[in-house]
């Protein structure tokens, strides 16, 4: 699971959970997979992100090196920055671990890079 995906996910599906965002990450195995650099895409996706959540998530798994905590106004002209954002968003890939609901502590396992966000039948009753 990439951090771009983590930035979009909530645990609102759980009963009684109000925002369920951001989920915290427990990673036991992280891969770095090479992804073609596409500055247009990164520029386009950054306004859709919650940057603070991204930075904290990257920091919590030890991949925030050189990543600024806030976005500068003309970030699209800063190629160095876009490359760093590209790496954190698309190349850091959590292979095994858990996503944890911030309100209830419910864990969602990530196996072979695929998060399992399913509830049990008891939880949807």
């Amino acid at each position: 699971m990439k951090l771009i995906t983590h930035n979009m996910l909530t645990s609102k599906c759980l009963k009684g959970v109000v925002t369920g965002y951001p989920l915290s990450i427990n990673a036991t195995n992280i891969n770095i997979t090479e992804v073609d650099y596409n500055p247009e895409f990164i520029t386009r996706i950054i306004p859709k992100l919650d940057w603070e959540v991204l930075w904290r998530a990257a920091d919590s798994i030890g991949h925030s090196d050189g990543l600024p905590q806030t976005i500068e106004p003309k970030f699209e002209e800063n190629n160095e920055f876009l490359k760093k954002a590209h790496r954190v968003l698309l190349e850091v890939d959590i292979e095994e671990g858990n996503l944890v609901c911030p309100e209830s502590g419910r864990r969602f396992p990530i196996s072979k890079g695929i998060p399992n966000m399913l509830l049990t039948e008891a939880e949807v009753q």
């Binding site: 699971m1 990439k2 771009i4 995906t5 930035n7 979009m8 996910l9 909530t10 609102k12 599906c13 965002y21 992804v35 073609d36 596409n38 247009e40 895409f41 386009r44 996706i45 859709k48 919650d50 698309l90 196996s111 072979k112 890079g113 695929i114 998060p115 399992n116 966000m117 399913l118 509830l119 049990t120 039948e121 008891a122 949807v124 009753q125």
Partner: protein, 387 residues
């Protein structure tokens, strides 16, 4: 009307494209009817009357002329003579070859209901997917729709309730294949076509429950929800009250599922699209129905989503599915109740009810045929005996 030379060879048209100093070739293409190379050459020879001055060059011509014979679109009913003829200067190739490149025959990872390459490409085009778009398929299955979405430059997310499918641990679909290859996955499919960089992620999740951040907007949604016939239409749930699960069983627990009726799937889908599409962007999905019950006004609807495309693919004598394209026209989202027309639409029940009738019909028809043959043979035998 008298046919003069200029009717056969309108020089003002020909002069514009032919030049005695430029080499040329003529290509013959036929649609819905096959010709051998020899027959095609004969067709080319028929053009010898044209006053094309340049030299013929089959490998690297300066100008290519294209001659197309169109024999309709029904492969079971091909006419003797072509319905239409086209002749002109070739300008650019279309992308029909992509159908062969993306064919499921060579796809690494496929499932029982993987979408045919041609239809996936049509869906991606209907959704107007352009480079850098963010695309989601909420019923992703083996990801066949996302392959074509990524081909046109989309960055793709997929979600599905089927854990085994996303982990490629379902039984292999291909004839003769006993076990699934380790490399099989949606990501693997994209890598196969050299577009692995556009894979974002796939998630195991239940579409009937919220998952995505409220404010995220996608550029396109393309999906083929389960109709409940070849794939079950399900969500997590249990009929029993007060169900509990002990902690020791919690890990690796596979939850039980209840029916997720088609009307609910489509009203959830339209509500999701109204919430999560950018204005002007599109939802493209299939909708199954019994053909003689089709009424356009009973298709799933939503005040924020305008139906801009609706075409039928016939599945059997009685059933069809429609490729629906909706465009988001408003951000003013009312709190929508479930679609009032939807409640009556249970495709699965109707599909099997229709099947019952046709199965009985088929049996009766066969019995009749057997009886007819028997009486015919009997008559023949009697004739022979007389002689």
């Amino acid at each position: 009307m008298e046919i003069s030379e200029s009717h056969i060879c309108p020089s003002e048209l020909l002069d514009a494209v032919s030049d005695p100093n430029k080499s040329f070739k003529v290509e013959v293409e036929t649609f819905c009817k096959h010709f051998t190379m020899k027959q095609k050459v004969e067709k080319i020879e028929n053009f010898s009357y044209l006053p094309l001055g340049g030299a013929v060059n089959l490998n690297k011509p300066d100008v290519t002329f294209s001659y197309i014979e169109f024999y309709g679109v029904d492969p079971n009913n091909v006419p003797q003579q072509p319905c239409d003829l086209f002749f002109g200067k070739w300008i650019a190739d279309g992308q029909r070859d992509l159908i062969k490149v993306h064919t499921l025959k060579k796809r690494e990872f496929i499932g029982n209901t993987s979408m045919d390459a041609q239809l996936s490409i049509i869906m991606a085009n209907q959704a107007q997917i352009a480079p850098g778009d963010v695309v989601l398929d909420p019923f992703v299955g083996s990801g066949s729709l996302l392959v074509s979405a990524a081909h046109f430059g989309g960055y793709i997310w997929g979600a599905d309730i089927d854990f085994m499918m996303l982990h490629a641990r379902t039984r292999p679909t291909r004839v003769g294949q006993k076990v699934r290859n380790k490399e099989e996955s949606i990501r693997g499919n994209l890598r196969q076509y050299g577009i692995g960089s556009q894979y974002l992620d796939v998630l195991v999740s239940d579409f009937s429950l919220p998952l995505w951040r409220q404010d995220i907007k996608f550029d396109a949604l393309i999906t083929d929800p389960p109709y409940g016939v070849r794939e079950p239409a399900e969500k997590i749930g249990i009929e029993r009250d007060n169900y509990t699960l002990s902690a020791q069983h919690l890990d690796n627990h596979i939850p039980s599922k209840v029916e997720y009726g088609l009307p609910h799937i489509y009203s959830d889908l339209l509500n999701f699209a109204a919430q999560h599409l950018s204005i002007g962007r599109r939802l493209v999905c299939w909708y199954p129905l019994v053909r003689d019950e089709y009424l356009e006004e009973q298709l799933p609807s939503h005040p924020c989503m305008q139906l801009v495309g609706n075409s039928e693919q016939v599945l059997s004598k009685m059933t069809a599915r429609r490729l629906l394209t909706y465009q988001k026209i408003s951000d003013d989202i009312p709190n929508m109740p479930h679609d009032p027309h939807g409640a009556a639409h249970n495709f699965r029940d109707k599909y099997f009810a229709v099947g019952e009738i046709s199965r009985r019909e088929k049996k009766e028809r066969r019995a009749e045929e057997i009886a007819k043959t028997a009486s015919y043979l009997k008559a023949k035998r009697e004739e022979c005996n007389k002689e």
